[in-house]
Amino acid sequence: MDRFRMLFQHLQSSSESVMNGICLLLAAVTVKMYSSFDFNCPCLARYNALYGLGLLLTPPLALFLCGLLVNRQSVVMVEEWRRPAGRRKKDLGIIRYMCSSVLQRALAAPLVWILLALLDGKCFVCAFSSSVDPEKFLDFANMTPSQVQLFLAKVPCKEDDLVRDSPARKAVSRYLRCLSQAIGWSITLLLIVVAFLARCLRPCFDQTVFLQRRYWSNYVDLEQKLFDETCCEHARDFAHRCILHFFASMQNELQALGLRRNLIGGNPKPQEPPKTPEDLDGGSGKDYLRAICSQEQVDHLLCTWYSSKPPLDLPASPSLWRPGLNHRAPVAAPGTKLYHHTDV
């Protein structure tokens, strides 16, 4: 029970780990898709290259777009980019950071597909079998060029009558697979080295700027989530009040029209809103509802949230800071700006 709560809290609080989880899930889905996909080289002269290269590049593109779609932070980033500045200035560094983190995560699944395809070799063999130099292989010495081309086009299809059990076909196929796997492993090595270098050398440049951007991009994401949750809670309380009010106004109407009969055994008591639902809602629900309880006010709130987000300027008060942080905190005078600013 506690574990679940901790897990949910962890997942909700750290959007980075959620994104990493989604990224891994998409990579696993890619592997499954590749293994269940039935590769079918056409073994025709012009179609081979199109099919092979198309299969090498189109699914990665679709997976990249999927990776961007599935990641919530891409929408948050676009919203942050397009919002009016209002009372909170925009920092392009944060948007760039969010963009790069979204792109990095979205690139994982396409790379998995490309590497799988290269290491497997079928795509490469299909695409480049017609472009092999026949001089490399002795078996083609006594064939006319058109025969050679026809033969090479059918190399990817093992079961075809023309090339079945042919040593020449096996030679060409082995050659191309070897090339494909070499390229695949080279790309893998290159990517890992680049990732390693990027990660290790990052602290050498602009570490403070990086920390600030990471913090504020995380903040923007969490703020959006919390705003949505608060709107949900507010809508619930609004609806609750509206319904209670409706019941009460019906009663009013009835009183006015004299349709209400006396209850057996006594005068009608003044109706109070039942305590139980309000107790369940808790005090915090009522507090902000009292201030915002009409459709115009809610619309105004939502418009202001979009067009003029509040400044990042929480009034510093002793209750907000624990004693341990005081010596590091800025002077807690009212009106002190705790703005984020980056020295770029």
Partner: protein, 346 residues
């Protein structure tokens, strides 16, 4: 129990992830359905195309309608669309938002079916086997000598290996490879196109109408919650109504018994009746409070009709006086004029 409540709360609070989970399940179900389906090309000239087009288009339509049906919000959309405006004006932007979000989610399973069908290739092979270019793929010299119906009959049997007898004209494997290659190319293009469209819609939207989007999202969520809460309140009310009704019935029965008994029995009966009547009447008082003054069928019917015909305006400004002393004494108060404040700015 607590665990389930927490999971439920998490899913409900994060409605998007809940709906996304449902979409994922339907997509998987769609793929599984396709793999479990036994495709069976008729291999006859006129029937191939009809069968294939049917398999390509009919299940997606069914899946789309199923997706809409399984979405609880469809009835909510219909209600909001057809209700009389009354004191609360209708906002077409909210209706559009609700419809778009439902349609988007319902489209995922059909798209998966079409994509899987094209990538598998059997459907395409069955539909277009008679349109294969025999001249380039097979023995082109033999084609002019064949009458068209005979050629069609031969080619229609390409998807069925056990009855194909046209190897002298065109190797079956060549035709199958050719058609499957085209089918897979179409399938991947379709997947790319749909993901591109979804990406453009999702990413470009914040560049336009973001404020209107926030409003529509809030009010559509509000309508959903309000409907659920109203149902809950009515259930509570009905329970209290029934309880009080039954208690009154028993009290009335008790009263009748009191009147009908002899004196001796009456004293003991009265004693027990009064002592028994005290606690039920306390409980009855609590239940009566829950009734909020609506205590007969005609009134309840009026309430329900009014809820449908004339929903209250979205204006809670008059909250405070209702809970104060304004009702002590129970005198008749003139109904307060409520200003209709719901209007669209979109």
């Amino acid at each position: 129990m607590d665990k389930f409540r927490m999971i439920f709360q998490f899913l409900q609070s994060n409605q998007e992830s809940f709906m996304n989970g449902i979409c994922g399940i339907m997509a998987l179900a769609s793929a599984q359905m396709y793999s479990a389906f036994d495709f069976n090309c008729p291999c006859l000239p006129g029937y191939n195309a009809a069968y294939s087009v049917g398999i390509l288009l009919a299940p997606p339509l069914v899946l789309f309608l199923l997706g809409l049906v399984m979405n609880n919000n469809v009835s909510m959309l219909a209600e909001e669309w057809k209700r009389p405006p009354g004191r609360r004006a209708k906002d077409p932007a909210v209706l559009r938002y609700m419809f778009c979000s439902m349609a988007q989610r319902a489209l995922i399973a059909p798209v998966v079916w079409v994509a899987v069908t094209l990538l598998d290739g059997k459907c395409f092979l069955c539909a277009f086997c008679t349109a294969v270019p025999v001249a380039t793929l097979g023995n082109g010299s033999l084609v002019p000598g064949l009458p068209a119906p005979e050629l069609a009959r031969l080619l229609a049997r390409v998807p069925c290996p056990e009855i194909y007898d046209g190897d002298w004209l065109l190797a079956r494997e060549v035709a199958v490879r050719y058609l499957r290659c085209i089918s897979q190319a179409l399938g991947w293009s379709f997947v790319l196109l749909t993901t591109l469209m979804a990406f453009v819609v999702r990413s470009v939207r914040p560049c336009f109408t973001q404020a209107a989007f926030l409003k529509s999202k809030y009010w559509s969520h509000y309508i959903d919650i309000e409907r659920k809460l109203f149902d809950e309140t009515c259930t509570e009310h009905a329970k209290a109504f029934a309880k009080v009704c039954i208690q009154q019935f028993f009290e009335a029965m008790n009263h009748d018994l009191e009147l009908g008994h002899t004196h001796g029995a009456l004293t003991t009966a009265t004693a027990t009746a009064t002592s028994a009547a005290q606690s039920p009447s306390d409980r009855a008082e609590e239940e009566r409070e829950k009734l909020r003054g609506i205590t007969d069928q005609g009134t309840m019917n009026r309430l329900l009709t009014s809820w449908h015909k004339c929903k209250p305006p979205l204006q809670l400004g008059q909250e405070a006086p209702l809970m104060g002393n304004g009702w002590a004494g129970g005198g008749a108060r003139p109904p307060r004029k409520e200003v209709a404040t719901y209007f669209s700015r979109v």
